[in-house]
Structures are given as structure tokens and as C-alpha cells.
């Protein structure tokens, strides 16, 4: 028989007081890293920003008929894949939870304490119009060690006057991005978890079931799209801000894998004005989606081709026009190509609420899709889907080909056929 309790070996809490580590002393102590001070383990990582290796589980669902549901199903999905996490980070994103305030940016923050909240509030008052702000409901969870951060949300609107004077024709979105970058790099004790309209990210340092309980996601919120992520970081004891989903505006991103082209991608997005402060792969990927889809206006599936393009040998056998376009994408977006094993789940509100699931072109990370009764599911493992549904169709998408599902438009792409085969390509140049 077994003479060792595997639970003991795997549980990060056993023999290891994860809140008690760090070169800088005890967890929860305040320190300064770069320009910013904050509580270690909450709004700042305990041992400084370090490149993390991400390993994890992801699961998501979208009701393409727009029906809203609470978090029960997505929580069951992510917690079934317990072996993919190690208790040092998990998170959820919910889309559609604030229908009455749907046109205001909801900025949801992790804060060390009341003073940090004051600092953020002062900054927001200077920069924007605060429609409403409130404490985000949380409750103590047995096993999750204190201190817990203060979680707060602000519903803000960008005043028109603030944009008028801007020389480069800044949009509302750019303005909010700048605000978020400012908070994250310069306001002590504060970290923005999400900044999108009618969506919010709930994440932290704990097991996926603990985080769900902490925020009461099974009951409190209703959304037509839920994304979730459970983490297995290889570095430091986790920190609240380091969990996924990662977010900028309404882009929510859950990422499994490691980006070998990180150095190249980072320098590319920085050229376009994004600041990669957190040194995580997921940060770079989120900015790439924002850059290609929101700013460059590429259709979602075209952006996917840029991220996971075809091999030149395969482009060579395509019809001329398609070969030209696919080659152009590689030429122009070569530095945006995401190399290395990855499986990502992305949520966005534009043009309509959409869920995207994409893998790398060598298919080195798992992804399964399924449909059941108006809902489209995507997950690292089939068992997660089987626990909450008895789906009519289950499939694994082709490497580098996205599953795209949208409210009102159903399953737009199952990730099985080429985009330029699905749509008729009309060459204007």
C-alpha cells in the first residue's frame, strides 16, 4: 500500500507557510518595488516581478442566445480539473453582469487597504466622472490565509473635454488604458483587475473553488459568458494580481503555456505604446489582441491567423490570392506571432460578446470544444465539460484555428476550417 500521503506532497500549504516567504520578509509586509509600494503578495509580487512560467487549466462557456446564468457551471468545470492547479492562483471573468450600467467602464481593483482606495479614488476623480463605486462582496474562506485585499469597483465615464485637447486623436478606450497603466505602475497599494464595460474579473491567490467562494460567484452574478482559469505557477508563492484572467478594457485572457517569443512580442507591443510592467506572458498576449483587433481593426479570425500562421510549405499550395494574403500577414505581423506551446481563452465585448479559444500551430496544449443547447463550451479537458452538460457535439479544434462563438450569432467557427476558405476573399489591392 501507499506509505506516503500524496496530498501532503502536493499541497502547497503543507510544511510551507506560503504567506511567510520572500526575501523581503513576511507576507503582507509593505515594500517598494520600482516606483511603487504595496503589500507583498497582494498588490505586489512577494519576490519582485519575475518572468513566470504558466501552467494551468482553463474553462469557459458562452450562451449564444444571450441567456444569463450564475457561475455554478463554470465553477464546476474548472474545479473538475484539480490536477492542473496547485492552489497559488485562480480567477474568473464574467460578461453581462451589469446590464443597467452597461455603458460605463467598470474598473475592479485589488487594494491593500482603505488608504489605497482613497488614492485611487482621488486619481479617478481627477481624470474621469465616477458614476458609482462600491465594495465588491467577499467573504472569508477557510484555508485561504489572511490578509485579504480590499476589493472595490468604480463605474466611470470618460469626460468628453478630456479627449478634445488630445493631439493624437485619443479615444475613450485609450484614455482608460492610460488610467489603468497609471494605477498599476504608480499608485501604491492598488492593482486593476479589470477595466471593461459590463464585465468584471474576479481573481486571487487560492484554489479555484476557494476563489469562487470568496467572491460568491455561484450565486451573486449573472452573465452570458464566463471564463475561468486555475494556475500552477512555478515561481514564488502566488500573488493576487498575478492570477488570470488577465485583462485590459474588455479583453479577458486565460492562458496555458509559455511564450518562447516573449522578448520579441514584448518589444513589438511596447513600440505601439503598451507598457509591459508585469513581465508575464499573458500580459503581452492580451495587449496583442487589443492591438490587432481594436486598434488595427483586424477581424478576430484574421488576428488568429497572425498569431498562429500557416507554415510556408502549406502556404505554397494555396490558391494565389489566399497565398498572397497569408504571406502578407506573416510579413507584417511576424513579430506578433506567438511562438511556443499555448492554449488561450479570450473574452471580448466587441463587436458583440464573443468567446475565442485558440491553440498554437503545433498543438502542444490541449483544447476541447462542445455545444449543448445554446451554449458553447471550451476547456483544457473534456471531463470538465462532461460534468456540466451532455453535449451533442464535442471536438478538438485544428492547431492554430480558433473556436469563435458570439452572442446572437452562435458558433461562428469551430476551429476546423480555414477562415479564408469559410469567407470569400475579395482582393482590392
Amino acid at each position: 500500500m501507499i506509505n506516503v500521503e500524496p496530498e501532503d506532497v502536493r499541497n502547497p500549504s503543507s510544511g510551507l507557510l506560503w504567506c511567510d516567504r520572500g526575501k523581503h520578509g513576511r507576507y503582507g509586509d509593505t515594500a517598494k518595488i520600482g516606483e511603487k509600494s504595496g503589500r507583498l503578495g497582494i498588490t505586489l509580487p512577494p519576490n519582485g516581478f519575475r518572468r513566470e512560467i504558466e501552467a494551468c487549466g482553463i474553462a469557459g462557456l458562452i450562451n449564444t442566445d444571450g441567456k444569463r446564468e450564475n457561475g455554478e457551471r463554470v465553477i464546476k468545470m474548472i474545479t473538475t480539473m484539480y490536477d492542473r492547479e496547485n492552489g497559488l492562483g485562480a480567477g474568473y471573468a464574467c460578461y453581462g453582469l451589469f446590464p443597467e450600467l452597461a455603458n460605463k467602464y467598470c474598473i475592479q481593483l485589488l487594494l491593500d487597504d482603505e488608504e489605497a482606495k482613497q488614492r485611487v479614488e482621488e486619481y479617478f476623480k481627477k481624470m474621469a466622472l465616477i458614476e458609482k463605486d462600491e465594495r465588491v462582496f467577499t467573504r472569508a474562506v477557510k484555508g485561504m490565509k489572511e490578509p485579504y485585499p480590499l476589493i472595490w469597483r468604480f463605474f466611470v465615464e470618460v469626460p468628453q473635454e478630456a479627449l478634445v485637447g488630445s493631439a493624437s486623436g485619443k479615444s475613450e478606450d485609450d484614455y482608460v488604458v492610460d488610467m489603468v497603466m497609471h494605477v498599476n505602475s504608480l499608485i501604491d497599494g492598488a492593482f486593476c483587475m479589470s477595466s471593461g464595460k459590463n464585465m468584471a474579473v474576479f481573481k486571487g491567490n487560492g484554489w479555484s473553488n476557494e476563489i469562487a467562494e470568496f467572491y460568491d460567484l455561484a450565486d451573486r452574478y449573472q452573465g452570458y459568458m464566463w471564463l475561468s482559469h486555475s494556475r500552477f505557477p512555478t515561481n514564488t508563492p502566488g500573488w493576487w494580481g498575478g492570477a488570470h484572467p488577465f485583462n485590459i478594457l474588455d479583453w479577458g485572457l486565460c492562458h496555458n503555456g509559455e511564450i518562447t517569443s516573449y522578448g520579441t512580442n514584448k518589444r513589438y507591443v511596447e513600440m505601439w505604446g503598451y507598457k509591459c510592467t508585469l513581465l508575464t506572458d499573458s500580459e503581452v498576449v492580451t495587449y496583442l489582441w487589443d492591438l490587432l483587433c481594436r486598434r488595427h481593426q483586424l477581424p478576430i479570425q484574421v488576428a488568429s491567423v497572425a498569431f498562429s500562421p500557416k507554415y510556408y510549405d502549406d502556404i505554397a499550395v494555396l490558391p494565389t490570392d489566399r497565398a498572397k494574403v497569408e504571406t502578407a500577414l506573416r510579413m507584417v505581423y511576424g513579430r506578433a506571432m506567438i511562438n511556443g506551446p499555448f492554449s488561450i481563452l479570450v473574452g471580448t465585448n466587441r463587436p458583440k460578446p464573443t468567446m475565442i479559444a485558440l491553440t498554437d500551430r503545433k498543438k502542444l496544449r490541449p483544447m476541447i470544444g462542445a455545444t449543448d443547447n445554446g451554449t458553447v463550451f471550451a476547456s483544457s479537458e473534456e471531463c470538465a465539460i462532461r460534468r456540466v452538460a451532455d453535449p451533442a457535439e464535442v471536438w478538438a479544434p485544428v492547431a492554430g484555428n480558433p473556436i469563435v462563438a458570439q452572442v446572437g450569432n452562435g458558433l461562428i467557427s469551430a476551429g476546423m476550417r480555414d477562415y479564408f476558405e469559410q469567407k470569400k476573399l475579395v482582393m482590392e489591392a
Binding site: 501507499i2 496530498e7 480539473m81 503545433k362 498543438k363 490541449p366 476541447i368 479537458e381 471531463c383 460534468r387
Partner: protein
């Protein structure tokens, strides 16, 4: 106890949550060591390593649900029948025994397999049968009824790998579209063993050192008993399989990378 069967529920009746895999596997090993020859697992949701390294040759395990990664890893003897889909790495480094899947089995099935058989009714993913190897009677066999994706049989050093391209739904059998049966980099780096694909395989799909060969009487002798087993498990008519020609793929050289290296010193 001998000859009797036992049913194990993979869901904890108290908490209604799936058992963690080591608890489920402990129950399975315990039952097998107590002498049960037939173990039935119900409500399996993603538990990994089921039947890992088990050497009981007269043991049958029936799985209802979705077994997790590494089903039958290092296994050497038992027969495992899955009534559902499998995840990745099914039959990883399998030594002997049989795995039958009434559903799909995704990526990296039969990685480094060295013996035994895996029969899958449905579809597969990437890198199936990668680095299979054989020696005399130790010969692994993997058969997929449906379609498979890139790198089928990468690095193959021995054994038999088959893709039939048939969508089997009860008694209804449809042919998978011709360009979806197998995909690129087929048998890339193959230096031993044989791959059989039902239907035509365009040359551009062949990987490094893989080459189409003449299907001979010997191949018929090798393949028929394997297909007979497949047909028995999934109730398919053998004639339906032979409605299309079977393409045979083997290594163009046993040392495809010999000229790649320079062994002299400077």
C-alpha cells in the same frame, strides 16, 4: 472473490465530487490485488493514470465516463474498455495489454508504445503513435476508426499504425472526406514499422523519410487479423473497410539522417 466483478464509483458519495485520482487508483489496485478479475468504474470524470503500470494479465477494467490523461500508462497486461471519450496520452509507453475506446482519443496516444493494442472507434489528434517501437513478438498496434491529425507515426521505429477514416455511428458508417483522414508530416522520421491508411495519401502529406510502398500479400496477412479484432469490437463490417484501397507507408531508409552529421574531429 476470483471471477467476481466489483463496481467502483469514481464520485465520492459524501461530497458528490469526483474522487481525486490517487484515491480512485488505490481502490483499483486494491481490488486487483484482492483477486477481482473484472473491475467496473462508473462516473469517471478526468481521473488520470488509471491502470498505470498494472501487470495483471487476466484483468478486465470497464470504464464509464471520461478517463483522464495517461490512461494505461506503462501498462503491461490488463484489458481496458472505455465507454466514452479519452483525453491525451492514452496508452503512453504501453508494454502489453489492450485498450478499446468507444469514442475519441486525442493527442499523443500510444506515445513510445512497445507492445499491446489500442483500438479507437472515433477520431484522434496530434502525434499519435509517436516513437512506437517493436522487437520480435513485442509489437504495438494502434488502430483509429476515424480521422487523425498531423504527425501520425512521427519517429516510428516499429509496430503497426492504422487510420481508417470511417465515421462509425452505431450501425451507420460514413466515409470521412478524403482530405481529412490523415494530415501533414505523416510518419515524419519513420525508420521502422508500418503505417496503413484507408484511401489515397497525397505525397505532400508524407513526412521526412516516409514513403508510400506496395501493399503486398504479407501486409494482408499482417493487417487482416488486426482489422478483424477492430470489427469485432465496434461491430463493423470488414467488407466496408476493404471498399477502399489501403495505402502502405514505410521508411525510405533506416538511417534517414545519416548524411546530416559529420563525425570527424577538428
Amino acid at each position: 472473490m476470483t471471477g467476481k466483478s466489483i463496481t467502483i464509483d469514481a464520485v465520492d458519495e459524501r461530497t458528490k465530487s469526483p474522487h481525486r485520482y490517487w484515491i480512485l487508483n488505490e481502490k483499483i489496485h486494491h481490488a486487483a490485488n484482492e483477486g477481482y478479475k473484472h473491475i467496473i468504474l462508473k462516473n469517471v470524470f478526468g481521473q488520470r493514470f488509471i491502470a498505470a503500470c498494472m501487470e495483471h494479465t487476466d484483468l478486465k477494467i470497464d470504464i464509464y465516463g471520461t478517463p483522464g490523461n495517461d490512461l494505461g500508462v506503462f501498462m503491461s497486461g490488463p484489458t481496458v474498455e472505455v465507454h466514452g471519450n479519452c483525453e491525451d496520452q492514452t496508452g503512453n509507453t504501453m508494454n502489453s495489454g489492450t485498450i478499446v475506446v468507444h469514442g475519441n482519443a486525442w493527442d499523443v496516444t500510444g506515445l513510445a508504445a512497445r507492445g499491446g493494442s489500442i483500438f479507437v472507434r472515433g477520431d484522434g489528434g496530434y502525434r499519435i503513435g509517436i516513437h512506437m517501437k517493436a522487437y520480435e513478438e513485442q509489437r504495438p498496434v494502434i488502430v483509429y476508426g476515424g480521422s487523425v491529425k498531423e504527425f501520425f507515426g512521427e519517429y516510428m521505429a516499429g509496430g503497426v499504425l492504422v487510420a481508417l477514416g470511417m465515421k462509425i455511428n452505431g450501425s451507420k458508417v460514413e466515409d470521412v472526406p478524403a482530405d481529412e483522414v490523415v494530415r501533414g508530416s505523416l510518419g515524419s522520421g519513420i525508420h521502422g514499422g508500418t503505417i496503413y491508411v484507408r484511401g489515397n495519401v497525397p505525397e505532400r502529406l508524407l513526412g521526412v523519410s516516409a514513403t508510400a510502398e506496395q501493399f503486398t500479400q504479407e501486409d494482408e496477412i499482417t493487417l487482416r487479423p488486426i482489422l478483424e479484432q477492430f470489427c469485432r469490437y465496434f461491430e463493423v463490417d470488414m467488407e466496408r473497410i476493404y471498399e477502399m484501397e489501403i495505402t502502405k507507408i514505410g521508411p525510405s531508409s533506416s538511417r534517414p539522417f545519416k548524411a546530416y552529421y559529420n563525425a570527424r574531429s577538428v
